[in-house]
Symmetry: C2
Subunit: 198 residues, 2 copies
DNA sequence: TGTACATCAGTGAACGCGCGTTCACTGATGTAC
DNA sequence: TGTACATCAGTGAACGCGCGTTCACTGATGTAC
């Protein structure tokens, strides 16, 4: 593995485990097993390291749109929600860290407009998946794909926050929680007492 | 206003507007109009200032439980959700900042166990309100108060995050968004095509 | 009423430290002839 | 096959700076007699 990649891995690890405030050039170099000086052969400055980590090490989310039309809608939504929780647990510490410095936040935001990522990407994906199922007639036409995406992503996001707050690296009982969330959504045309009528 | 309060206000302002990383003792003192030395007459150290701001300046959320039984359930839930969005927009930058330093996070977490606050307080309140309405027969007995609270709070939390990310100080169209969220929840026994059947 | 002292809010200037960054350098590996 | 030079990954040691913190001090206000 190239020195650059090793440094990025080390930086990502330090940022995740100790927070961005402790992710000093000394600490990153030590973790990577290189001298501090080498960091500056591969990156312009410290902020460039942070930005590169955010760009290249905060993984994306698998697009669930391709699930549309396959399997059971309810199961798919539960799976998607569980995936969201895992995704947010992994990315929350870093995303949150960015709020520690408004200048960093601004840099991240403007660096994001060029590519399709950003914090709204998961919401858009889930909304698109739900919209596809509506088109296929597997979710009631009256269902609100935007609201459903906002609540599933939102709940997953907050559950991930709480897990991180507790120092955990996964949402406890993720599947069971996801199950209850999905069961409480209006996604069927006739919902007579049963929360799973499709 | 006492110097202590002035300093806390200044610290809260700096933390909110520039992020915790820029909330240096110099910056806080300048903003407060006092010397840095005075900070140390009122606080043990910088972390004590941060902690005091979190304890005394990050306001709580009005408990919605007392709404139970009054007005319309749907309107109440929308109002609660709008309140949640406002609350989270105000507190997110600071809560997120804490993740920039794991040591700070640990200190905050352990300082929290003594009092009733913490990041789960809003969830508990909303759940309690929904449970009350279920007991009163105004929300169907099959509804899941936990899941409903998780989704309303979660969505509000994430919408607040997105607003902060965009540099805004309020969630755009908060009322309309809240309306759609509530309309997509399973809260009525018979939900035949109408999302507002109670 | 005056005087001597105590208390208190507040400060300017300095302190050591760890930070991000740079510089001159090394030693190994290619490469032209 | 040597040899002279170029390139390249990597480093030790130093740099200036801004940070959090402390110290000795001031000047105003209370207070006992």
């Amino acid at each position: 593995m190239s020195a650059r990649e090793t440094i990025l891995d080390a930086a990502a690890r330090v940022m995740r485990e100790k927070g961005i405030a402790r992710a000093t050039t000394k600490e990153i170099a030590r973790e990577a097993g290189y001298s501090e000086a080498l960091l500056y052969k591969h990156f312009a400055d410290k902020q460039d390291i942070y930005m590169s980590v955010l760009r290249e090490r905060v993984g994306g989310l698998a697009d669930p749109t391709e699930l549309a039309g396959t399997g059971e809608v309810h199961e798919n939504l539960v799976d998607v929600t569980v995936g969201l929780m895992a995704f947010y647990v992994a990315s929350f510490p870093m995303s949150a860290s960015i709020f520690s410095d408004v200048e960093l936040l601004v840099a991240w935001r403007s660096g994001l407009t060029e590519k399709g990522g950003g914090p709204r990407a998961p919401l858009r994906m889930v909304e698109r998946y739900v919209a596809s199922e509506i088109e296929l007639g597997r979710i009631d036409a009256a269902a609100d794909s935007y609201a459903i995406a906002a609540m599933l992503c939102g709940a997953a996001f907050q559950q991930a926050f709480l897990a991180c707050f507790d120092g955990l690296d996964a949402v406890p009982d993720a599947a069971a929680v996801a199950e209850r969330l999905v069961a409480s959504l209006v996604i069927a045309g006739a919902n007579n007492g049963s929360n799973r009528s499709f």
